[in-house]
Symmetry: C3
């Protein structure tokens, strides 16, 4: 199992959610975060200074079986993309175990009905 | 060391916190999150359609020594449980290192007085 | 790649951010969290009872190449430190992969311009 964590533009959240649904991922958790970076704040890109720290950000976090990782990355990249500086990042982590509280299912099995 | 991350009903937070205290865990971090899922939003369970995306969620996150993991999982499952759809999830991750800022303690040692 | 997660006093955030900039880290994500602990709430330290659960907390999270980890830990410890109970914690996790959405860069390469 892997955790996929994407830090995206808040304005792209609905697109990213729909895109993940299309590759079979129906469950995720999310919350608002902020991002900073001195170099970002006074960044020159194509001759213009951009400050991306004021872009509203959502952190989207979800756990999937290994075989879903690649298609999720592709889907997020497509749906969070604008081409302008500040489109954000995706990070992947290993997950040691997972449990569904209501049923007591654990491991990959606990993730089945959401994929 | 392991990180335990539980996404629970917000209404169950105090119970979960007390339950963890009873198994020796006195330190944790938490924040509010939201959860979505197309299949969840129009889910049929026992013949009724449930939308669990409106359930308020708290993400509880804490780092413990390996030997505490099993009792924490049991405790969270007992205290976050209602039996209705939407009771939530528990995920376990490996932690590479830990530091206590005030004392400079690192590794397992930095976790002692909270267990 | 590693994720560094620091749970600090909210009042120390600007110092921690500047300190990280000084060791070459210009990108990070952060959000407000709360922390609890029964033993903390009725903790005796130097003969006085402290309740650190009311201290406002910020969780700072960022991903760096391995060679930056040690200097980041030192920097956060220096800049989040007051010497009073409740200065907080730092945790380190392994990261399996990273992507920059705009460019499609992955792995260490996706982290270059932020270091
Ligand atoms: N290494 C990192 N660790 C944690 N969060 C990061 C990291 N890099 C970027 N972020 C988060 O992603 C957000 C987007 O970063 P930024 O605006 O620089 O876009 P970007 O992904 O670098 O794209 P671009 O290359 O177009 O600037 C930041 O505000 C921050 O929240
Ligand atoms: N794979 C996942 N990754 C990240 N978060 C998840 C995942 N699955 C569930 N969640 C989070 O847990 C919350 C609870 O999910 P949900 O309401 O479906 O309950 P459940 O744990 O699936 O229980 P039930 O089987 O009774 O539906 C979601 O709103 C979401 O925040
Ligand atoms: N094991 C842990 N897992 C997750 N979060 C933790 C853990 N220990 C501490 N925290 C977080 O760090 C915050 C600071 O903890 P606390 O006030 O006890 O300070 P401390 O780091 O233990 O320093 P001191 O030793 O001076 O008390 C807590 O409120 C909580 O949010
Ligand atoms: Mg950038
Ligand atoms: Mg469900
Ligand atoms: Mg303490």
């Amino acid at each position: 199992m892997k955790k996929i964590e994407a830090i995206i533009r808040k304005t792209k959240f609905e697109d990213v959610k729909k895109g993940l649904h299309n590759v079979g991922i129906d469950y995720l958790s999310f919350w608002d975060v902020r991002g900073v970076g001195k170099s970002v704040e006074e960044r020159v890109y194509r001759g213009v200074t951009y400050d991306t720290s004021s872009i509203e950000r959502t952190l989207v976090s979800f756990i999937v079986r290994d075989k879903y990782v690649d298609s999720c990355i592709v889907s997020i990249r497509e749906n969070a993309f604008t081409g302008e500086v500040g489109d954000g990042r995706i990070f992947v982590y290993n997950v040691e175990d997972a449990y569904r509280i209501r049923t007591g299912d654990s491991g990959d099995r606990s993730l089945y009905d959401e994929e």
